[in-house]
Symmetry: C2
Subunit: 363 residues, 2 copies
Amino acid sequence: MHRLALTKPDGRQLTLYARRPIDGALVAPSPFPEPLNASPHLRWHPLRGEWVTYAAYRQGRTFLPPPEYNPLAATVRADNPTEVPAGAWDVAVFDNRFPSLGVPPGGGEAPPALIVPTEPARGHCEVVVFTQDPGGALGRLPLDHIELLLQVWGERTERLGARPEIQYVLPFENRGAEVGVTLHHPHGQIYAYPVVPPVPARMQEVAAAHHATHGRGPLEMLIEAERAGGERIVYAGEHAVAFVPVCARYPYEVWVAPVRAVPGFAQLTPAERADLARALKTVLLKYDGLWQRPLPYLMAWYQAPTDGRPHPESHLHAQFYPPYRTRDRLKYLAGTEIAAGLFAMDALPEDKARELQQVEVTL
Amino acid sequence: MHRLALTKPDGRQLTLYARRPIDGALVAPSPFPEPLNASPHLRWHPLRGEWVTYAAYRQGRTFLPPPEYNPLAATVRADNPTEVPAGAWDVAVFDNRFPSLGVPPGGGEAPPALIVPTEPARGHCEVVVFTQDPGGALGRLPLDHIELLLQVWGERTERLGARPEIQYVLPFENRGAEVGVTLHHPHGQIYAYPVVPPVPARMQEVAAAHHATHGRGPLEMLIEAERAGGERIVYAGEHAVAFVPVCARYPYEVWVAPVRAVPGFAQLTPAERADLARALKTVLLKYDGLWQRPLPYLMAWYQAPTDGRPHPESHLHAQFYPPYRTRDRLKYLAGTEIAAGLFAMDALPEDKARELQQVEVTL
């Protein structure tokens, strides 16, 4: 992996990654001349016992720009800068101009004094450009390009997780207008949180209790059982696996994971990383092959917290949530899902797994 | 409150409620001649530590029926039965024909044997028809009709909660195509769960810890602080209050509650119920007045669990989640909300409260 770290004119960081050496003379562009001046804050939710982050300046952020402007495409004309330079790179990571988390050097504005506890919204939000091809897709990248991305996610997690204020690093991709995506150039995001957020906190708690009882985490045991049965398996390699989980909460939900309970991207062996790339590409091609059109989804990668403590219960994996329940019907999250948190499924995971198994793909 | 309990030809229960006496000769219709034969099951999610319910037969349920057929309108012709009879009633409650929870008498089919624990999906799902007017709205009903509905929710909670298998009763309304609603006749639902579901379970846990420390629940203290400041108040009566909470997770989120920490609908005094109806109607009229069109929302009413234990920490209240962040932009739940559970807000609750305060309404 080759990398080049640059600073944008507005002070934000840009790092380019490539399979081959990168020209050291590249310069980081920015569509924004002025330094970012954002001070999001957290408010405590006293009924749910969790933080909520407020960033009112984000209301002015980029929204479905006209097709002639793509801020994630390489800059062609210096008088019309985008977020990334032209040049031979494969993956680019830069600081989000509209962060929900992250305070400026010096601390920024003090959070407002309110009737609940408030804090500066420490943390960090990054954008990850998966490819220079605006019409491409993560699943159509070559395997060694996807392997590079897995390395990049590992490197970002290590760098962000090393900051004392960062407790959890979540790489994710929102794909498709159906999940609210405003820029269609293939890209994801990384949120680095100053707390372990509610969903991974709950999963860590459950996994730790399981590990204390069984000496292994729940995902390692589930993977063993899914592989033994095979009914819901979408990809089974030597080191990596993909399946519709027996407890899927979305009709086309799929999990992708290394077989070994690896805590995060940075701890994958090269052979594990290569097989995980094959598992990931297989799922993505099956998704797009299902109805011969790009399937929208939320993809989230769960890792161990970066709180400095050992987490033998953690097991790196992706959860994919596509919003469709059939070719032309969305699954809406409504009363029981949103208000109660108890998901109701009209489809059986076994049936949806069979549909995905029948989609043939070539890696 | 007057009530008439009936049984439909397919065995489902229908109860009619009215402010005036009901004709005892009314007969319960059903669009379905055959008894319901549904056996949903629960599967344990070993990573999240929660149940998911599966009801595959629901895929065939009613979906945006043609305008000439409204199953929630009163039956006009005996050869075209709907779910409710013609006659002088105000609110109707009947067993959902497509329940996510509820097993037939005798237990139904055994749940499948799988690699995670499974259970029959005990519980109960009801539909609540708010009015006979298919073009009406909850917020446009007269105050005494809304008071009747609050009584009905109380009665249903008491009846369902008295069943030994029911641990939690959640009345809610999904309103608008934007939240997936398939029938536009004003109606809500009641889910009666065999467990305290994840979201209320978390809120109960947080409230119990707060009550142990402060001698009061967190909502009672928050209401006191919101009323003292007034900045986010939408309705302030002697016994009931509505406000955009300081920790809102949706731009137009509003909570409606009695001032006193009443555990559930059935424990409201008549004066509290009357004022709660005024608070509820005020919020609903302000919502529809905001952009002079029906505002979609999810409305959920949280009460004490019906697990037979005392819950001094519980405080009846509604949380409203409208899916819009501006007049023409939806708020999508994506990476940080769905995958991490940490909500990011672009709008400040103080600004949204001001917008709602400025909408004038006449009760």
